[in-house]
């Protein structure tokens, strides 16, 4: 195993860093914030212009979808929305590194990853609108339901990966979580289990610097990627706003998992440009100057600069993406507004797979109660 060399790499990174968490030690980067292509000693990538344009398109459409969702929340169509603004490269880069047979375990902010898996964006909105608590079949796109209690899904991913290994399959599993969830015991247990069983799982931590109002310093004394060393598997910190580096690093980690190398921790160093959710007010705990610093590292602007420098995209392409994102926004807007409230009787559906006498009894009682209004003016239709 290459654990040893990685541990050495981690300690080299440690020597370079200036001490406190949050200050950048060793960061894998293939595209500078200015859009300049740079090389890295361990990670490389060679994409065709078409592939590069594909990543750009993914990020733009994801951002547009996200913006539309915020608007829909402001209009009262959604109860809540957790914006991914600023994290498009971390999500598109890692999501595009997965294969169809791989399995993804998201938190509740992985709208970009869902996009790369082919999940209909409208499916993501049901929970935020309040018409379901999840709402899609995870096995259709190998994309598990969103998980709100942070960190829990890292164990599900680990168990799923243990099953993949038992089946002798060469698929890999990727678990998303954030800097806040890194403090959860479940995440530590997932690291332990996956290491002990050498499970083919990649732990993808989007360190967006803020867990609602708490900065990363409130979660850790060491850079998060270094935690992996203590569990006996590699950890790597990647520029989370550099879609090329994220793609390269995640591909390598997934490949390592597929080939029996076990887990990897990827820390995507990024920034939550928006508030935690539409219910949050980030101005109460952080300075706008910080946000402005990160704005200069924007993932989409940086890829566009590269595309332009390379002459890999023309105005027609940008116009096409713009038109496509308008169409997506329109479809999402209309789709959400048309999304019906569930029939109250569905409260009793799918509580159990094999039935339960109490649920049957309560269903019947509630149906009778509702039917008792049938001859009143309001009727039972409500």
């Amino acid at each position: 195993m290459s654990v040893k060399s990685t541990a050495a790499r981690s300690s080299r990174g440690g020597a370079k860093r200036r001490g406190a968490a949050g200050q950048v030690p060793e960061l894998v980067q293939l595209l500078t914030p200015e859009g300049e292509r740079v090389e890295h000693s361990e990670y490389s990538i060679d994409l065709s212009p078409e592939e590069l344009r594909g990543l750009y398109r993914d990020m733009v459409l994801t951002r547009r979808f996200d913006a539309e969702a915020i608007t829909l929340q402001r209009q009262g169509e959604l109860g809540l929305w957790a914006s991914l603004l600023g994290q498009e490269a971390a999500q598109i880069g890692s999501g595009r590194a997965t294969r169809p047979d791989d399995y993804v375990f998201p938190t509740y902010r992985e709208h970009g990853v869902a996009w790369t898996r082919g999940v209909d964006p409208l499916n993501l909105l049901g929970m935020f609108r309040g018409v379901n608590n999840g709402g899609w079949d995870p096995n259709t796109n190998n994309f598990q339901l969103y998980t709100i209690v942070i960190g829990s899904q890292t164990l599900h991913a680990t168990g799923y990966a243990m099953g993949v290994a038992k089946d002798g399959a060469d698929s890999a599993v990727i678990a998303y979580f954030g800097d806040g969830a890194s403090s959860q015991g479940d995440v530590a247990e997932a690291f332990t289990f996956s290491a002990v069983y050498n499970a083919p799982v990649v732990f993808f931590c989007q360190n967006n610097q803020w867990a609602i109002s708490e900065p990363t310093e409130k979660q850790t004394r060491v850079p998060l990627y270094q935690r992996a060393a203590g569990f006996g598997f590699p950890g790597v910190r990647v520029d989370g706003n550099d879609v090329l580096a994220v793609l390269a690093v995640t591909r390598a980690a997934l490949e390592r998992a597929r080939s029996g190398g076990g887990p990897t921790l990827v820390e995507a160093f990024t920034y939550r440009m928006g508030a935690h959710t539409t219910s949050d007010d980030a101005s109460r705990y952080r300075l706008d100057t910080e946000r402005q610093e990160w704005e200069a590292k924007d993932p989409i602007a940086r890829l566009k600069a590269y595309l332009d420098n390379e002459k890999a995209a023309d105005d027609a392409f940008y116009a096409e993406v713009e038109a496509e994102s308008d169409a997506l926004a329109k479809r999402v807007r209309e789709g959400v507004r048309a999304m019906p409230d569930p029939d109250p009787m569905t409260i009793f559906d799918n509580v159990y797979a094999d039935g339960h006498a109490l649920v049957d009894e309560e269903r019947a009682q509630f149906a009778a109660y509702r039917a008792s209004f049938a001859d009143t003016q309001e009727g039972a239709v409500r």
Binding site: N132, N133, G134, G135, W136, D137, P138, N139, Q144, L145, T147, V149, S152, T154, L155, H156, A157, T158, G159, Y160, A161, M162, G163, V164, K166, D167, G185, D186, E189, A190, T192, F193, V196, D349, N350, V351, Y352, A353, D354, H356, A357, L358, V359
Partner: protein, 324 residues
């Protein structure tokens, strides 16, 4: 028919399930080479290998959380929590994740996970080894909660739990592990959540499950010497409860005493008393009484016999119910 202990019946049941379905896994702390601290899984790893009988790290949340992932992958994990008081690190995964996954996925995902928990007192153990937390699970929609009282039920109910597509919390009466009984592995078992009349009577119904069924049968025998004919209903299932069987019994006897080791306050007896009162209001000659643990931490072993419902406390409640 074979006579075997309750522990052996569970062992045989696990073996049968693993033989008939390659997706059945056994996982937990010390379940492999050691065969579990109670030897319930003795010999399984030797015969089925480390890939199917999995010694896990000592982390209960990790055990249940990874079992959820394995179930999503198509496996049927049978998880062992070593002792009742050790389940709480896994409580979040059980309540927040396992119980709700099927509903959250609109029925598209099934969670056939069995969580075996040796529970209850009476073995002189140190703290956290004698608790009865079944009501904490019965309160949660999405979970099924059962507890066998006999080796035969232990064998069959575990088979049925493993075949069930829902998460099942399987509470094993650890103080009955070494009790022997007849097990017919060719029988047609009763439905999993059906209550059974363990002893027919006419004067009062004692309802219990797991370790307290034996106490109730002994109490009925003692009462018989005083000329009282008590019926004993073995509930077997705590979620759901078979209220139809219990109602039929109470309509006949007109009195009910519910017995469990768990604290009485907000315990399963409270729910049973409430619903039976609702169903049998005009049949009852006395309020439904409950016998169980006190609203205290489980006491040190030297006084646990005072805390646990025994023959005398059950008969005391019977006397009070009959005095109405």
């Amino acid at each position: 028919m074979t006579a075997m202990t309750l522990a052996k019946a569970i062992n045989s049941s696990l073996r049968t399930a693993m033989e008939s379905d390659p997706k059945v896994l056994v996982m937990g702390e010390d379940v492999g080479k050691l065969g579990g601290v109670f030897r319930v899984t003795d010999g399984l790893q030797k015969d089925f290998g480390e890939e199917r009988v999995i010694d896990t790290p000592l982390a209960e949340s990790g055990i249940v959380g990874s079992a959820i992932g394995l179930a999503l992958r198509g496996y049927r994990p049978v998880v062992e929590i070593q002792f009742d008081g050790f389940v709480f690190p896994a409580y979040d995964q059980i309540v927040t994740q396992l119980a709700k996954m099927h509903a959250r996925a609109l029925g598209k995902v099934k969670m056939p996970v069995v969580i075996r928990i040796p529970y209850g007192g009476g073995i002189g153990a140190v703290e956290h080894h004698s608790e009865s937390p079944e009501a904490l699970f019965a309160h949660v929609a999405g979970l099924k909660v059962i507890s066998p009282a006999t080796p035969s039920d232990a064998y069959w109910m575990l088979q049925q739990a493993i075949e069930c597509d829902d998460p099942v919390i399987f509470f094993e009466p650890k103080r009955r592990y070494w009790d022997k009984g007849e097990v017919d592995t060719a029988a047609v078992p009763a439905p999993l959540h059906r209550a059974l009349v363990a002893r027919e009577g006419t004067d009062l119904t004692l309802a219990a499950y797991g370790p307290m069924v034996k106490v109730c049968l002994e109490a009925a025998k003692a009462a018989e010497e005083e000329g009282r004919n008590l019926e004993v209903v073995d509930l077997r299932s705590i979620s759901p409860v078979d209220f139809d069987t219990l109602q039929a019994s109470v309509e006949k006897t007109r009195r009910l005493v519910v017995v469990h080791e768990a604290p009485v306050f907000f315990g399963s007896g409270a729910e049973i008393a409430s619903r039976i009162t609702e169903r049998c209001f005009y049949h009852l000659e006395a309020p439904v009484l409950r016998v169980g643990g006190f609203h205290s931490p489980y006491p040190p072993a030297r006084v646990e016999e005072e805390y646990l419902p025994g023959l005398d406390r059950v008969l005391d409640a019977v006397d009070r119910a009959l005095a109405f």
